[in-house]
C-alpha cells in the first residue's frame, strides 16, 4: 500500500484520525503517524484532510 503525508502541509488538526475506521492513525508531536498493518486503504483520511496533505494509493 501507499499512504503518504506531506508533512509541510499538515496542520495536525486530527481530522484524519477522527474518520479512520480502523484506528490506524495517531496524532503525535511530529504529525500524523500511520500503522500500516491496520490501514485498509479506504481513503477517508485523504478526503477529510482540509489541506490535501494525504495521498492514499491502491492496495497492491
Amino acid at each position: 500500500m501507499t499512504w503518504d503525508i506531506e508533512r509541510r502541509k499538515c496542520l495536525r488538526c486530527g481530522g484524519c484520525v477522527g474518520v479512520c475506521p480502523v484506528d490506524a492513525l495517531k496524532l503525535t508531536e511530529n504529525g500524523v503517524k500511520i500503522d500500516e498493518e491496520k490501514c485498509i486503504n479506504c481513503g477517508k483520511c485523504e478526503k477529510i484532510c482540509p489541506v490535501g496533505a494525504i495521498t492514499v494509493g491502491d492496495k497492491e
Binding site: C13, G14, G15, V17, G18, V19, K47, I48, P50, V51
Partner: protein
C-alpha cells in the same frame, strides 16, 4: 485517587472540572497541547444568549468584537440581513477564553496540567495512563470524562464514540486575517452555494480593527479540499487584496451523529468528543459547556450514590437529550433537507425569508415555515414534508 479525571482542557472539559471542583470533588484535567486554547479549531463566535444561559461571566480581555447581526448571502449574491439593533453575540479570542476557563477551574480547586497526554484507560475506566512531558504515570480515579475534541481517541477506546462517517462531518479550514475591508465590523458574513462551499458555508467573523476569522466548512466527502474552496473564494474577492494571513487553522466539525449513549461504566463524554455541536452552523462552544454542566450534575449525583455504573450514568443521556438533543436533532433534520437544495432553491429562499427566520431555524424553531415555502418547489416536496 481522584474523584474524576478529565481528558482535555477545552471549554467542555473545563466546565465539568469547574463545576465539580466547586462542589469539593477532586478533579484532574489533562491537556495534550502545550498551550491551552491554541491552536484553535474554531470561528470563535458565541451568542450573548448562550453566555447568559450558561452563566458565563466572560472577562473583557477574551471578547474581541460585539456582534449585532449577520449578512447572509445566497449563491446569486443576494443577501438576507439579520440586524438585531443591539449586541447579540461576540467573537472571542479562544487563546484567552480557554485559558480563562481553565484558570477558573483551577481556582475552584481542579488540578490542570498542560502538555499531559492521556494515552490509555485503566481497567474498568477507573483512571488513566498519562504522559506528562515524557514521563508516564497511572492516575486512578472513580470516573473518567472524555473531553478531547472531535477525534477523541479515549472516547473511542471506551466504546462511546465510533469513527465519524465522512458525510456527517465537515472539513474545516480558516485563516485569521488582518487589513480586511469588512462590510460591517459588527456583522458576521455567511456565504452559501454549491460553488462557494458544497453543503456548508464560508464565514467571515470580525474580530475588531480590520481583523477577522475567514473560514469554510464543507461536507467531509467532497473531492476537493476545504482549502481549495476557501482560497478560491479569497482570490475571487478584491476585498482581500490588502489582507495578510496571521494564523492558519483547520479541523473536522461533527455536524450530525448525535450520540444516543454517551456513557460507559465509570465514563462519559462531553463536547466535540460526544458530537455535541449544532449541526447547522457547526458551533460547539455553547453545546460543549452546556454538556459539561449537565455531565457535572450527573457525575456529582453518581459519585454521592457511589454508583458510577453505565446504568446510573444514563441520567446524563436522558437530561442531555431532553435539554439539548431533541432540538439539535431537529436542526440536524434541517441540515439534511438543506443538503437537497440546489443553488436555485437557496436563491428562492433568500428572497422569501427574513433575518429572524434564519435565527429561528438555526435553533430548530419554526421549521414548518421553511417546510411550507419548500412545498412550492415541486422537487422539494418530499424534503419539505420532513419539516412540517
Amino acid at each position: 485517587m481522584k474523584d474524576v479525571v478529565v481528558v482535555g482542557a477545552g471549554p467542555a472539559g473545563c466546565s465539568v472540572a469547574n463545576e465539580l471542583a466547586e462542589k469539593g470533588y477532586s478533579v484532574a484535567v489533562y491537556e495534550k497541547r502545550q498551550e491551552i486554547g491554541a491552536p484553535k479549531r474554531c470561528g470563535e463566535g458565541i451568542s450573548s444568549y448562550a453566555m447568559d444561559n450558561l452563566n458565563l461571566d466572560v472577562p473583557d480581555n477574551c471578547k474581541m468584537q460585539p456582534i449585532d447581526g449577520a449578512l447572509v448571502f445566497s449563491p446569486n449574491g443576494d443577501g438576507v440581513t439579520i440586524d438585531s439593533g443591539e449586541t447579540v453575540g461576540w467573537t472571542l479570542e479562544r487563546k484567552m477564553f480557554d485559558k480563562w476557563m481553565a484558570e477558573r477551574a483551577a481556582k475552584a480547586g481542579a488540578e490542570i496540567r498542560a502538555k499531559a497526554e492521556v494515552v490509555d484507560l485503566l481497567p474498568e475506566n477507573k483512571g488513566v495512563v498519562v504522559d506528562i512531558e515524557g514521563e508516564r504515570k497511572e492516575v486512578e480515579s472513580r470516573m473518567v470524562v472524555a473531553a478531547g475534541g472531535v477525534e477523541s481517541p479515549i472516547a473511542k477506546k471506551a466504546g462511546v464514540k465510533k469513527p465519524s462517517k465522512l458525510h456527517i462531518v465537515d472539513s474545516g479550514y480558516q485563516y485569521e486575517m488582518v487589513n480586511l475591508d469588512l462590510k460591517d465590523d459588527r456583522k458576521l458574513e455567511l456565504y452559501f452555494g454549491d460553488e462557494v462551499a458544497p453543503r456548508g458555508y464560508v464565514w467571515i467573523f470580525p474580530k475588531g480593527e480590520s481583523k477577522a476569522n475567514v473560514g469554510i466548512g464543507i461536507a467531509g466527502d467532497i473531492d476537493k479540499t476545504a482549502k481549495y474552496y476557501l482560497d478560491r473564494f479569497i482570490e475571487n474577492n478584491g476585498r482581500f487584496n490588502k489582507a495578510s494571513i496571521t494564523e492558519v487553522n483547520s479541523g473536522m466539525i461533527p455536524v450530525g451523529g448525535l450520540l444516543d449513549d454517551m456513557v460507559a461504566d465509570n465514563f462519559l463524554a462531553v463536547g466535540d468528543a460526544a458530537n455535541q455541536v449544532n449541526p447547522i452552523h457547526g458551533g460547539g462552544i455553547r453545546e460543549g459547556i452546556r454538556g459539561g454542566i449537565i455531565a457535572s450534575k450527573v457525575i456529582s449525583m453518581a459519585l454521592d450514590e457511589e454508583d458510577t455504573s453505565h446504568k446510573n450514568l444514563q441520567k446524563y443521556n436522558q437530561i442531555w437529550w431532553e435539554e439539548r438533543g431533541r432540538s439539535l436533532r431537529r436542526v440536524e433534520k434541517l441540515r439534511e433537507v438543506l443538503e437537497d437544495l440546489d443553488d436555485g432553491d437557496l436563491n428562492y429562499l433568500a428572497e422569501k425569508l427574513k433575518g429572524e427566520d434564519l435565527m429561528d431555524f438555526s435553533q430548530g424553531r419554526n421549521l414548518s415555515k421553511l417546510g411550507k415555502l419548500l412545498l412550492k418547489r415541486p422537487k422539494m416536496i418530499k424534503s419539505a414534508r420532513k419539516l412540517i
